[in-house]
Amino acid sequence: MKIKVRYFARFRSIVGVSEEELEVPEGIRVVDLLEILKERHPELKNEVFAQNEDADVNVSKNGRYVSFDDHLSNGDVVALFPPVSGG
């Protein structure tokens, strides 16, 4: 199935594009997608971009906030954005 991934803030600078379309296995979860993205863009491994509790990435699917366990479907648009803390 095909999904679209959109990158925001520093993820966008790291990956070098604002969005990309990917062919991924049917029915994968958000956490599986993150693993695929780390393989595809090894620079993301240096970010805290993991499946454990230290994960430091927020994810939305089709404009709605989702958890890492959420399943993806064909045509979904997934956005990745980093929580920031500065003031």
Binding site: G63, Y65, F81, G86, G87
Partner: protein, 231 residues
């Protein structure tokens, strides 16, 4: 009651929310927690709008703050703690409003005493430890909390309404402690700070639709404004 001078001063915004809205602003007290990059534009625009303020910060301005913390000037460096540095300027700017200050850090022990009686809390902090404390307090007392944070050309903002929206901790459960020094352009803090003020005004006057259960992310490098549903 609004004085004639107030009716004239706030004329252009009374056109938006009426004299009743302006009365509500006049009768409200808003805590600005952190008087730095976000806190400067927040306190400035809230003062302009005629809102009474409680300014909270423990630090004194340093030279490297001035690219973004526009309420602090060269004369204040190493002199006036940030709440006091902001207070004297804002009092000259708008003598109608009452400005209270607390110079120090919010803790579990003092937060009840210091934030007692505020109508809205604006999170202009630079760390999540104190943010979680604000979040807990806001839920305990049922006070809305306007969260924003910035880095570089990027920022995020959402409005927490206890009982109605997710808590800040539910949205950002585990933000990593970053290095102390983060990149930031003053104008980025200006954009997010101005958005926080609009949230406060919407909540107090009842005009418009607050960012409740919505996270607005602003990526100024790529001209992206995205509203993400949090429900």
């Amino acid at each position: 009651m609004l004085s004639n001078k107030e009716i004239e001063r706030y004329d252009r915004q009374i056109m938006i929310f009426g004299k009743e809205g302006q009365e509500k602003l006049k009768n409200s007290k808003v805590a600005v927690v952190g008087v730095g990059g976000l806190g400067s534009p927040v306190a400035y625009y809230l003062a302009a709008a005629g809102v009474n303020l409680l300014l909270i910060d423990e630090q004194t301005p340093e030279l490297s703050n001035l690219n973004r913390q526009i309420l602090h000037w060269e004369d204040d460096l190493g002199q006036n703690p940030k709440p006091l540095s902001a207070k004297w300027k804002l009092e000259h700017f708008n003598s109608d409003i009452i400005i209270e200050t607390f110079v120090g850090r919010l803790t579990r022990e003092n937060i009840d005493r210091i934030l007692g009686g505020v109508d809205v809390i604006v999170d202009c902090l630079d760390n999540f430890e104190t943010r979680y404390l604000l979040d807990e307090y806001a839920h305990k007392r049922g006070i809305p909390l306007i969260h924003a944070a910035v880095e570089g050309l990027y920022g995020q903002i959402t409005t927490i309404i206890p009982g109605k929206t997710k808590s800040l901790r539910e949205i950002f459960p585990n933000v990593q402690r970053k290095k102390e020094k983060f990149p930031i352009l003053g104008a980025t803090a200006g954009v997010l700070g101005a958005l926080q003020v609009v949230e406060v005004i919407k909540l107090i006057t009842g005009v418009g639709e607050p960012l409740a259960n919505k996270l607005l992310i602003v990526d100024l490098a790529s001209n992206a404004f995205e509203v993400i549903e949090l429900r």
